[in-house]
Symmetry: C2
Subunit: 268 residues, 2 copies
C-alpha cells in the first residue's frame, strides 16, 4: 500500500490532495507549515517548521513513508524563525547559501535534492491530480481579441526572457504596453496594483507562466476563483496560462465564472 | 542669439531649464502639456496638446526657434484626447502604429525623428544642464554593503536584459531576492508597493537604470528628494543609478538628505 507524506503549504491544494488520497484509499500523513485550521483536528497531520521538518520526515521514513507530494506555496523563511534542530542544523549552511543567492527555484532544487538523498521519491502533482490542470487553447466561448493575442505573445517573450533570473511568473499587458510585472507581491496584488495604469476597460491581459527551469513537482503557478474574480473586478479581459502546468483550483467554478463574466482562459 | 523651445512635461525639470535660460540669457519659449501653474503667467509659454503641438512648433519655427529641449515626463496620451489638428492628423497613423507596438522609446524615437524632419535640432539635456547629473561610484560617506553590491549587480543584469523590451527602468532587490520590478507604476509606487515584502530593515536596494537604447536627449530616469525620502520611509538602504545619465533633481538637497539619513547614492 502506498504511503505518502503531504508537505503542505498555504492554500486549497493540500485539501484537494487529502480528498484524493481518501478517495483512492492511499495512506497519507500531512506535515504542514502554516496555520491550517482544518488540519489541526486531523489525527495524521503535524505542524512543522523549517527547523524540525527533517527530523519529522526521518521519523515517517522509518514508518514506511517513502513518497512525498509537495502542495501549496511555502513562504520563504525568516532567518530568525529557523530554529534548527539537530537534523536540520547540518543542512543549514547550504540552505543559507541558497537563500543568499536568491530565487525560489534554486532553493526548491536544494530541498528536493536533499529529500531524494534521504531516499524519498518526490511525486509529480500532474500525475497525482490531473483533474486540476487545463490544456492548450481557449477554454471558454469568450475568446482573446487580436490585440490580446499580440499582448500574450509579447508577455510570453518577456516572461521566458526573465525566467533565467528565476523571476517574473506573471505580467499584465495592454495594447503592447507592459502595465505590471510580478515579483514578490503575487498575482492578486499585481492585478490590483496595475488597475490604475490601464487605459480603457476590459482590454488588458494577464499572462502567467511556469519559469523555464521550474520543477513541475513543486511550486506550480496557480489560478483560482479569486484570480478570475480579480480579473473581472480590475477590468482585465482574460488570462493566458502555461497549459497542463498551471494548477486551476476549483476548475469547474473557475470556468463557469469565466463563461458568465466574459473572461477568457487561454492555454499556452 | 540662441532661440530654444522647451517642450515641457511634468515635474520640476522645466523650471530648472527656464532658470538656466534666464541665467544664460537664452531666448526661450515653453510649450507645456500638463497643468503647470507657474507657467500660466509666463508671457512666453503656451499650453498645447498632442493634437496641436506640431502647429505651434511650426509657428515658432517661422519665428526663428530651431532648437528643442525636451524636459520632464509626458504621459502617454489617450486616443480620445488626441483631437488632432490639420498638421498632426498627417502624422496620426504613424503615431497610432507606434502606440500599438508599445514601449516608450519606440514612441519617442518617432517624435524625435519627425521633429528633426521639420528642421529642429534636439538638444541634449546633459550638455545644457550638466549640474543636475552625478558621476560613477559612491556619492556619500555611507556605502553599500557587500550584500548590497551583489544585489546591485544582479539588478543591473536583469534591467539590461529587460531593456530590449523597453521595460523595467528600476528594480528592488534584497539579499538576492527580486522584491519588485517597475512597469507602469513609476519608481515611487514601486518603492511603496515593495515595502511589505522586505525582510528586515535597511537592507534592500533600488537599482534604476537608463534603458539600453534610450535616447539621452529625452526621458532620462530621474531621482529627486521624494525618491530618497521614500527610500528612507520604506526602509531601503540606497539607490544605484546610471551615472551621468540620471537626472538628480535638487542635487544638493538629495545628497544632504542621504548624508544625514544614511542612504547611499551609487553611480553605475
Amino acid at each position: 500500500m502506498k504511503k505518502i507524506i503531504i508537505l503542505a503549504g498555504n492554500g486549497l491544494l493540500p485539501k484537494l490532495i487529502i480528498n484524493k488520497c481518501k478517495l483512492k484509499k492511499i495512506f497519507f500523513y500531512v506535515l504542514y507549515f502554516s496555520n491550517q485550521q482544518y488540519l489541526e483536528k486531523y489525527p495524521n497531520a503535524l505542524k512543522v517548521t523549517f527547523g524540525n521538518v527533517l527530523t519529522e520526515l526521518k521519523k515517517l521514513r522509518k514508518k514506511g513513508f517513502n513518497q512525498i507530494l509537495m502542495a501549496g506555496s511555502i513562504s520563504r523563511p525568516n532567518f530568525k524563525d529557523l530554529k534548527p534542530d539537530l537534523n536540520s542544523i547540518k543542512l543549514l549552511p547550504k540552505f543559507v547559501k541558497k537563500i543568499m543567492e536568491g530565487g525560489d527555484n534554486n532553493l526548491l532544487k536544494l530541498v528536493i535534492n536533499e529529500l531524494e538523498r534521504f531516499g524519498f521519491k518526490i511525486l509529480n502533482l500532474k500525475t497525482f491530480l490531473p483533474e486540476i490542470f487545463l490544456g492548450i487553447g481557449n477554454q471558454t466561448k469568450f475568446k482573446p481579441s487580436r490585440s490580446n493575442l499580440l499582448d500574450i505573445n509579447k508577455g510570453m517573450k518577456i516572461l521566458i526572457n526573465n525566467s533565467k533570473f528565476d523571476i517574473g511568473q506573471s505580467i499584465i499587458i495592454q495594447h503592447g504596453s507592459v502595465i505590471g510585472i510580478e515579483a514578490a507581491q503575487g498575482t492578486d496584488n499585481l492585478i490590483k496594483q496595475s488597475y490604475p495604469y490601464l487605459r480603457g476597460i476590459n482590454q488588458g491581459v494577464l499572462i502567467k507562466m511556469v519559469k523555464k527551469k521550474q520543477d513541475s513537482r513543486v511550486d506550480l503557478p496557480t489560478i483560482g476563483l479569486k484570480t478570475v474574480k480579480n480579473l473581472k473586478k480590475y477590468s482585465l479581459r482574460g488570462v493566458a496560462y502555461s497549459a497542463n502546468k498551471t494548477i486551476i483550483l476549483n476548475k469547474i467554478d473557475v470556468i463557469n465564472y469565466c463563461e458568465s463574466n466574459k473572461i477568457f482562459l487561454f492555454g499556452l
